[in-house]
């Protein structure tokens, strides 16, 4: 197996609390504005995912990042209330811009609150910063890139939607790793050893280039991106426009044939 470096993908609760006390960190809450206004982790700024997605060009993202007071060296922790998927998409966008110190809170805001940890509704005053742009194209997969590389022997394409959706239709050659598989009851990502064992069983290893995708905007697959990074896999890309774009472009789609699996669902 090739060299695997340890990357920090999540920040644990205790570390975040002390970093907030030290005022050494920028916390981003990606929930909707009304939820944020009710209560949030102290000092957190609000960047609703929908706001980011309305235009996630590097120029716009740069403006947003500057306005949140994030400089090149500012450590950033992102959280949400959607098992880490929305936070992942925001974190990935910062990383793509060239920000090197961004991680996910290990748990969700609900869990944080249910543990009785501090939260308030104060909106912090932010001093704008000047972040640089050093785009990281090596963590992005476009449809053209995907189409050209997905059949190469060292490329693994991972579909993070639920199993029934995968069976019904998926990008040919993709393997199924539903986003629920990545989490535990309490944390948005499994412990490292646990995750590693799971991925090893599936022969997802560091020798490969790995591309993740999900339904539409790269949230579930964003979480998978960080799951793969958390065990040190060096070459992971997010197909950020995901299956929605792929289908829209009328590219080939595969299906599990001759079985009525939907009828096993009680919904």
């Amino acid at each position: 197996m090739s060299q695997e470096k340890t990357v920090k993908t999540t920040t644990d609760i205790d570390s975040l609390r002390s970093e907030i006390r030290d005022k050494s960190i920028r916390v981003i809450d990606v929930r909707r504005e009304e939820d944020y206004k009710q209560s949030h982790i102290p000092t957190a700024v609000n960047l609703p995912l929908a706001n980011l997605l309305s235009d996630d060009s590097p120029e716009r993202v740069l403006k947003l990042v500057n306005a949140m007071g994030i400089g090149d060296e500012t450590p950033v922790v992102v959280y949400d209330d959607t098992f880490g998927a929305l936070a992942s998409r925001v974190a990935w966008t910062l990383e793509y811009l060239g920000h090197s110190d961004v991680s996910l809170l290990e748990t969700t805001f609900s869990k944080w609150k249910s543990l009785g940890l501090e939260n308030d509704n104060k909106i912090p005053e932010i001093q704008s910063k000047n972040h640089s742009i050093h785009l990281k194209p090596e963590i992005l997969a476009t449809s053209d890139y995907l189409e050209a590389s997905k059949d190469k022997p060292n490329v693994i394409l991972i579909d993070n939607r639920e199993r029934l959706n995968y069976l019904e239709q998926h990008i040919p050659g993709a393997i199924s790793l539903p986003y629920r598989t990545l989490a535990t009851q309490d944390k948005i990502l499994r412990p490292k050893d646990d995750m590693k064992r799971l991925l090893d069983n599936r022969r997802i290893s560091g020798d490969s280039e790995i591309i993740t995708y999900c339904g539409s905007v790269g949230t579930l697959s964003g979480l998978a991106y960080y799951a793969l990074k958390s065990v040190g896999l060096p070459n992971v890309k997010l197909y950020v426009r995901s299956f929605k774009e792929w289908k829209g472009l009328e590219k080939p789609i595969a299906k599990q044939q001759d079985a009525s699996y939907w009828d096993l669902s009680a919904e």
Partner: protein, 602 residues
């Protein structure tokens, strides 16, 4: 502080008495899959290994498996349900399936993930070991054992002890074919004549003291060819239970047909040999077993009674009005227990399917409403919540309603069985699973679950001639096949009438071939014929029983008369007239039969 330190706990929750799991089997499974993928294991040995660990093949693919989780005696605890819910979301389709043999099945699991499921199950003491393959399958027990007003004593501890004795026992690792035990409470609630070994608890007076024992039935079973079991002897005392079981298994192991996979269940051996010869062999073998076993060979029967403790009510919802459906639900889904002030409540699922969210909700509901603190799987793809205090029934109904688990008709004809059919099974010819759901929806819509005349009848559907859907013992049974008009095919069912599994067990008599899309109108037509010709206190089951046995004196005298009355339903329309006729349920493309290799006899 870690997050998990603060997890909500339920100190009062009872713990399972037996840990069925071995964590090292998960590790071993993962390694074996790796070796298999590297070509270091041949297909046949790997398949045997996989089945021995409870992972069954899946329709038209080698990439997926179905994991069958055993619930010995049907017992399932809340924390186990929560784990299964989680495993279903992570590694299956976000749904689980309650089978007819007290297993929970997770479908469409990637073979490489099976070991992760085994690991998760081990955390809560459950196993899928020997849930498939040529082994002693899950040991069933009536969901009413312990609470049934008609039982002599509770056979649950004996079922658990039997399961424990044979699980991983060298004796049952390589049988000619699968082997099944069913324990029950009484004649009415069991299925003891349709299984390799069926047992009804009995007592007798022995010099003034009460002796416990069983009525044991051998050599029955449902399948491509079904047989009704024979009673071994008048009374088998409890100390002979294990010796008898071992003796029967040893005979089957020695004499069972290991070559002809299609005829190697023990019922064929019994049939070929003749009952009297087989019976003699068992009694002789038992004498040998009894004489040669060391004293340590005995069943560990733990008869410590469950702690019955009515859960403390945290939130008081008194004053909430009783909803309309309550009376209907109470009538069709609950039974009074022999313990006064308690009911057993049955939850009917559409063909056994339940979502992961419902499973999690169910776990909480069990904690809040069952005074024994766990649930039991039933025989008809359902779940029983026992020891629900009479005063809690309305509240329980409201709770079940909020999570979609309050469907009425659980104990009636409106809860049909459908095997998995073309949703996942390699052998299936039709979507029996969906058909069962469609029938249930129609019955509930027509409120037929409230009809007392229909209550003790049953509908059971298999997707092929093998009888996982138990069609042979249904009042109205169906098994799937293909029909043909010229070059076009359509889904079709062979219908049988009059099957039953009680004290008068018999197999249904073949009646007619019914196209899939005509099954519902045909069932309704049969009900109509019954209503026209019934005697005042007849049930459909009684009436069909008389018709099938030629003892009915009304207009409909025989099964041939029913057949004639249904002829018009069986004539296929042209494809132009009714294109839907040519599609199976759950499919919008033209029907064709397609099957892979079965693994029941692997």
């Amino acid at each position: 502080m870690t997050v998990s330190d603060l997890k909500q706990s339920y100190p009062d929750s009872p713990k399972p008495k037996i840990n069925w799991a071995r964590i090292e089997e998960a590790e071993d499974f993962a390694n074996t899959v790796k070796l298999f993928r590297q070509g270091k294991y041949d297909e046949d040995s790997f398949r045997r290994y996989r089945l021995q660990h409870g992972a069954y093949g899946t329709r038209m693919t080698n990439d997926y498996a179905m994991v069958r989780i055993k619930l010995p005696a049907g017992e399932i605890y809340p924390h186990q349900l929560e784990k299964i819910s989680q495993l279903s979301e992570q590694f299956s389709i976000g749904n689980a399936h309650f089978s007819t043999r007290e297993n929970i099945q997770l479908h469409w699991v990637i073979l490489e993930d099976v070991s992760e499921i085994l690991r998760g199950l081990a955390e809560v003491g459950l196993t899928s070991r020997e849930a498939c393959g040529n082994s002693v399958r899950n040991v069933m027990c009536s969901p009413l054992s312990g609470v049934c007003p008609d039982e002599e004593f509770d056979s649950t501890p004996y079922a658990l002890a039997t399961a424990r004795f044979f699980l991983r026992n060298p004796l049952s690792q390589s049988l000619p074919r699968k082997f099944k035990f069913n324990f029950t409470c009484c004649e009415k609630h069991g299925m003891v004549r349709m299984v390799d070994v069926g047992l009804i608890p009995q007592t007798r007076d022995l010099d003034g003291s009460i002796q416990k024992g069983f009525k044991i039935f051998l050599g029955g079973g449902l399948g491509n060819k079904s047989f009704v079991g024979y009673q071994l002897e008048e009374f088998t005392p409890e100390e002979d239970l294990l010796y008898t079981s071992i003796a029967v298994l040893r005979i089957f192991d020695r004499l069972g047909d290991r070559k002809n996979m299609a005829r190697n269940r023990m019922r064929y051996l019994v049939n070929d040999m003749g009952w009297e010869k087989f019976q003699n062999l068992v009694l002789k073998e038992r004498a040998i077993v009894r004489a040669t076993q060391s004293v340590v060979t005995h069943l560990e029967v733990d008869t410590t009674p469950s702690v019955i403790k009515r859960p403390i009510r945290i939130s008081d919802e008194s004053g909430s009005s009783i909803s309309d459906g309550y009376a209907r639900w109470l009538k069709t889904n609950t039974l009074k227990q022999k313990q006064s002030e308690y009911h057993s409540v049955f939850i009917t699922l559409e063909a056994g399917d339940i979502t992961s969210n419902q499973i999690t909700a169910l776990a909480t509901i069990i904690r809040e409403f069952s005074s024994e603190g766990y649930a039991r799987a039933g025989f008809v793809q359902n779940i029983a919540l026992r020891y629900v205090h009479d005063d809690d029934l309305t509240r329980l109904y409201s709770r079940l309603l909020t999570v979609g688990l309050a469907k009425s008709g659980a104990l009636t004809m409106a809860a049909p069985i459908g095997c998995s059919g073309t949703t996942s099974c390699n052998l299936a010819l039709t979507n029996s699973h969906r058909l069962a759901k469609e029938i249930q929806r129609k019955f509930l819509e027509l409120k037929l679950d409230q009809d007392d005349d229909l209550r003790d009848s049953s509908i059971k559907i298999s997707g092929c001639p093998n009888a996982c859907g138990q069609h042979g013992i249904a009042t109205i049974g169906f098994f799937g096949g293909g029909g043909r008009v010229g070059k076009e095919m359509y889904p079709n069912y062979q219908m049988s009438l009059g099957g039953r599994s009680d004290g008068e067990t018999m197999l249904g008599a073949t009646c007619h071939r019914i196209p899939a899309k005509r099954v519902i109108p045909v069932i309704l037509k049969i009900i109509e014929l019954f209503k026209q010709n019934k005697k005042s206190d007849d049930t459909l089951k009684d009436w069909i029983h008389r018709v099938v046995n030629g003892k009915e004196d009304s207009e409909i005298k025989s099964i041939l008369d029913i057949r004639k009355a249904l002829d018009s339903f069986t004539i296929p329309p042209t494809k132009e007239e009714d294109p839907d006729f040519y599609n199976d349920y759950g499919s919008d493309s033209s029907y064709h039969t397609k099957t892979g290799k079965g693994e029941c006899a692997a």
